[in-house]
């Protein structure tokens, strides 16, 4: 487990494993604890993927699906990675249901883009990225998942994931440097 943002590391992972095993046996209380431990990151991930629209609904659906599939969790990797994999698949499925998501037009950044804060610029740049690059940037650049873990979450070959992250990083850096200039 390379993921640096998993709370208190090893102990947290072991607690997740114990709770997940109980949840697989039908223990609703154990599953509720898992929801409490992971909702922040799952919701933040989906909220930014969905660009703020329907992220919470998808997050709830993610946890419900995790409950239904609790018995199929094999304990390989982190529980949060498993949740994010479900979230990513649900996001893709939701997006297919709504046809293609509309790309943000350049004008959506607003006329006064030069005056806004760097965070807003980066978030707007993030919102303009294709969904796969957005997800890869959030996981690898924001949350500290390793390339291997992110590739597993997003269902991509490792090489593809690395180039997706590199493209996303280049675009975000361009925004940051443009803001600084």
């Amino acid at each position: 487990m390379v993921h640096a943002a998993a709370g208190s590391g090893q102990l947290s992972g072991e607690e997740d494993h114990i709770l997940a095993r109980k949840a697989a046996g039908g223990d609703v209380d154990a599953f509720t604890k898992l929801v409490g431990r992971h909702e922040r990151r799952v919701r933040a991930f989906l909220s930014r993927l969905c660009r703020g629209e329907g992220g919470d609904d998808l997050a709830q659906e993610t946890f419900l699906k995790a409950w239904r599939m609790a018995g199929s969790w094999r304990g390989e990797g982190s529980y949060e990675g498993w949740l994010l994999r479900i979230a990513w698949r649900l996001f893709l499925s939701d997006r297919r249901g709504r046809r293609d998501e509309a790309p943000l037009a350049e004008g959506d950044t607003g006329a006064a883009a030069a005056d806004v804060d760097a965070a807003i610029d980066v978030n707007r740049a993030l919102a303009r990225l294709p969904a796969r690059e957005r997800a890869a940037a959030l996981l690898c650049l924001g949350e500290g998942w390793s390339h291997g873990e992110a590739a597993d979450i997003l269902g991509l070959p490792l090489g593809t994931l690395k180039s997706v992250v590199a493209r996303a990083r280049a675009e975000l850096v361009r925004q940051l440097e443009g803001h600084a200039a």
Partner: protein
């Protein structure tokens, strides 16, 4: 410089720190409980349906077999009560099969 940019990106892209959202957790827990109840009800309904179908099939089969049973050879002095009695017993068995089922099966 690269490290500095990566640190800035990390700070900008990481999920914002905040306390756990108890309302969201409670909403998910309620949905999970509702789904668990629905699953139990659906399982019970299928169990009841299967038991009723099995009982019905048994009764039909029994009546078919009874209808094919030949009467005794000395039929002059014989009062043929065997058929109705058997049918009654089978109806009783049917009632038992349908009524005696797992306690969670009723809605």
């Amino acid at each position: 410089m690269t490290d500095d940019i990566d640190l800035r990106l990390k700070a900008l892209l990481a999920a914002p720190e905040r306390a756990p959202d108890a309302a969201f957790t409670a909403r998910v827990a309620q949905a999970v409980l509702a789904e668990a109840r629905m699953r139990a009800a659906a399982r019970a309904a299928w169990t009841r349906f299967a038991a009723e179908m099995a009982a019905t099939a048994s009764a039909i089969l029994a009546f078919v077999l009874l209808a094919r049973t030949a009467p005794p050879a000395d039929s002059a002095a014989y009062i043929p009560l065997f058929g109705p009695a058997a049918a009654g017993l089978l109806l009783l068995a049917l009632w038992v099969a349908v009524s005696v089922r797992p306690s969670g099966a009723r809605f």
